[in-house]
Symmetry: C2
Subunit: 449 residues, 2 copies
């Protein structure tokens, strides 16, 4: 089956709910795939959602809560009884269960933990921050002993019957639970039944400590084409496994956050059209006001040069053109540098290299723009002196914007601030005031005003 | 082993190459993991790279060419003899081999194809565009027949000995090669040996036609947590499989391209610091000049209102502030909308919904900014009339920028242009001229000039 049009299904579901036929509604949802279940479910009104959750098969409710975004899931969980919630959490992946329990009040989370079938699967995961390897990993994995044979390992897998997603690779540990190798299911099948795992396994296994940032996990898995990444404690004991499906979500979410920040807004936590106007405003107004205050500097610069403006009104005509070009050149630079930092192509050690790179790029771009600006000024009938002023100013502004644009994201990284704060809007705003200062200083020198 | 510091290794490698000890150099590279091999290799000079490739184990050379970016790999391939290149291509994944052969001159590609061991694995892949499911898929997969038993299937896998990466799922086809189900290796192991695949398999398998865009493949695999996605022809015959490692690369690359475009530049094809100044300039100058021309409109608007400017020079002080705020509000909107489009959260059908959403957001943000602007103008000692002009103008400009920012990416999509062309710089530039027009029109009305 290809992906189905969900609108018809949603329509049927609404009809069933309106005539209070919860069993029929549950049947409609249970027939869908988990992500489709969550999408249809999230379109329902809150009251219908709450009525429906206890009626669904707990495994389906668990899938839905896992696929909803964290805030929605926590809101629903809050309104459920401890018993209903426990039945659902019992069916969730341990890493997702830990995320959910971390998002609800501690008393309620404790009540659920006390009733869980396997609290020891979830409990250790609650100790790690959400955005670390420890927060991302699942504790549901099968560790095989080095001394086992291939046949014994296959029998252990038969007996364990894990979810398919836990079985990308099988990790091998020694008697102290220390990670010592990795073996694929295919290798087990192909190997002689009596061969010990120690001989079959690849001892050269990449692992991370629990505190590793989730972006670093994503980078490693993407670089080495890994489907799973084992997480170890300080003694290299295996404590969990990060799987590729979670990492794909991390990659998509981090790119979304970066793009929203680069646009000069705080990232939204929910899908755009489902986010209320009030929330969108809250995520944007702070930056907009801060940039407004910074941009106020441009007014001060212009007032400072009021005499020059009064003497040559034509100077004004080039103001937006000059500062706009500077902002554009700066945005081009920061977006490139920020992405290179995010994918690990460069780091702080490359600061001087990238500054030098951008200064040369700025030099060439500045020359090109100076020619364009000179031609434009002359065709507008500006005096040769004014045209020269504009050309020299745009050259210096572009070089300056490129240099600033290459240094600021690195400076942010050095100060342990997310480099995406140096967004396009921030660049434009910074270049505006400084660009005007450069422009009028040159004007005074060249025009003698 | 954790990821190693590659700098020392690079140093050793350079020493070996300088004393022309190719065997030692090859040994150093062959001891590394493929991505590390490629990273170290790409740091070498071109002449060293070319000398080294034929010396390496062909499987390692193949890994390196797969991991290098497409342009670098094609450049190296061009300089290799047909025999050497064939030995390497024979070891490449069929999808990567097809990509490489598509990037070199047809005569050379044909010479390699004629010598390949399994040309029929690569040949059909050459027919599909690089960025489609057909271009992304591998033809190296094992299709099992419906009538096989679990035990027969396991024996077939033993006999085939595929790479681990081909074995996420096993697809089941009927006698006409039509895709009819999917089964995991785990299910095969757990099932009774005599059970036919038709009974074990999940018949509900998601597949795509070969022409599907790679971003759509990534979206499906991310949504349904798939490790592999089967590709079918018009008759639903299985022709290939897209694997998650390729999709992770697609997700990362597409996000990189989007971010660079949003910064107002054409995307770079190579790692930033390895891209020459000339190339970086070429990718940026076009947009910078185009935006410059558009931005020239601001000069025309200012000249149009020259009399007003001469009458009240203080009007000038607010020009950068007003157009800067408009550009910022527009950038905030477009980056959100563009990302929502990219991850499939919204589509063209949501145009009116998102316009309405943004107009309301703009209304609230505009009111907030109007208050801030009024206060700022008064504290600068502006007249109440001028302060009122600035406040009203900023309100209208913000609403206008939000509306424009929500409509333009959708308009681009409608015209089948990548919506990321509506970058922050494009938004600022469009809002600058229109914002000035709004500002001076209000000034004339309020100030009576």
């Amino acid at each position: 089956m290809e992906v189905r049009a969900l609108d018809d299904i949603l329509e049927q579901l609404r009809l069933a709910l309106e005539r209070d036929d919860l069993a029929a509604a549950a049947g409609i949802i249970e027939a869908l795939r988990p992500p489709d279940q969550a999408e249809v479910f999230s379109e329902l009104e809150d009251s219908h959602q709450l009525a429906l959750l206890p009626e669904l098969n707990p495994a389906d409710s668990a899938d839905i809560l896992e696929k909803l975004n964290d805030e929605e899931a926590a809101e629903l969980a809050l309104a459920l009884s401890a018993d209903t919630l426990t039945r659902i959490v019992d069916e969730m992946e341990p890493d997702e269960a830990a995320d959910l329990l971390g998002d609800i009040p501690q008393a309620q989370a404790q009540a659920v933990l006390d009733r869980l079938e396997d609290p020891e699967e979830v409990h250790p995961l609650l100790l790690h921050p959400d955005e670390s390897a420890g927060g991302l990993m699942t504790s549901e994995f099968l560790a095989l002993r080095r001394r086992m044979t291939a046949a014994e390992a296959i029998n252990a897998i038969r007996a364990w019957k894990p979810d398919a997603e836990s079985l990308y690779y099988l990790y091998v540990v020694d008697a102290h639970n220390v990670l010592s190798g990795v073996v694929s299911l295919r290798q087990l099948i192909v190997a002689a039944p009596g061969a010990p795992l120690a001989d079959i396994m690849d001892p050269n296994v990449i692992s991370v400590p629990a505190g590793t940032d989730q972006e670093e996990c994503a980078r490693l898995m993407s670089r080495y084409d890994l489907l799973a990444l084992p997480v170890v404690d300080a003694a290299r004991r295996l404590i969990g496994v990060v799987t590729i499906d979670d990492v794909v979500d991390v990659l998509v979410d981090e790119a979304t956050e970066d793009i929203q920040r680069l646009g000069g807004a705080q990232p939204l936590k929910t899908a755009y059209l489902e986010t209320s106007v009030v929330t969108v405003v809250r995520k944007r107004i702070g930056w907009l006001l801060l940039l407004f205050l910074t941009e106020s500097l441009t007014g001060s610069v212009l007032r400072h040069f009021e005499d020059a403006l009064q003497a040559v009104v034509a100077l004004t005509f080039f103001v937006p053109l000059l500062i706009g070009t500077g902002g554009n050149a700066g945005s081009q630079t920061t977006s490139t540098i920020i992405r290179a930092l995010a994918v690990g192509e460069m780091g702080l050690r490359d600061a001087l290299h990238s500054l030098w790179h951008e200064l040369r790029v700025g030099f060439v771009l500045g020359l090109g723009m100076a020619v364009a600006a000179y031609v434009r000024a002359v065709t507008w009938g500006s005096s040769p002196e004014l045209s020269l002023t504009v050309a020299v100013a745009i050259f210096i502004i572009v070089v300056w914007a490129n240099g600033l644009g290459s240094i600021l994201p690195l400076l942010a990284t050095l100060l342990r601030i997310d480099p995406t704060v140096v967004s396009g809007p921030v660049m434009s705003t910074l270049v505006d005031a400084t660009g005007l200062f450069i422009y009028f200083t040159i004007a005074r020198l060249v025009l003698g005003i």
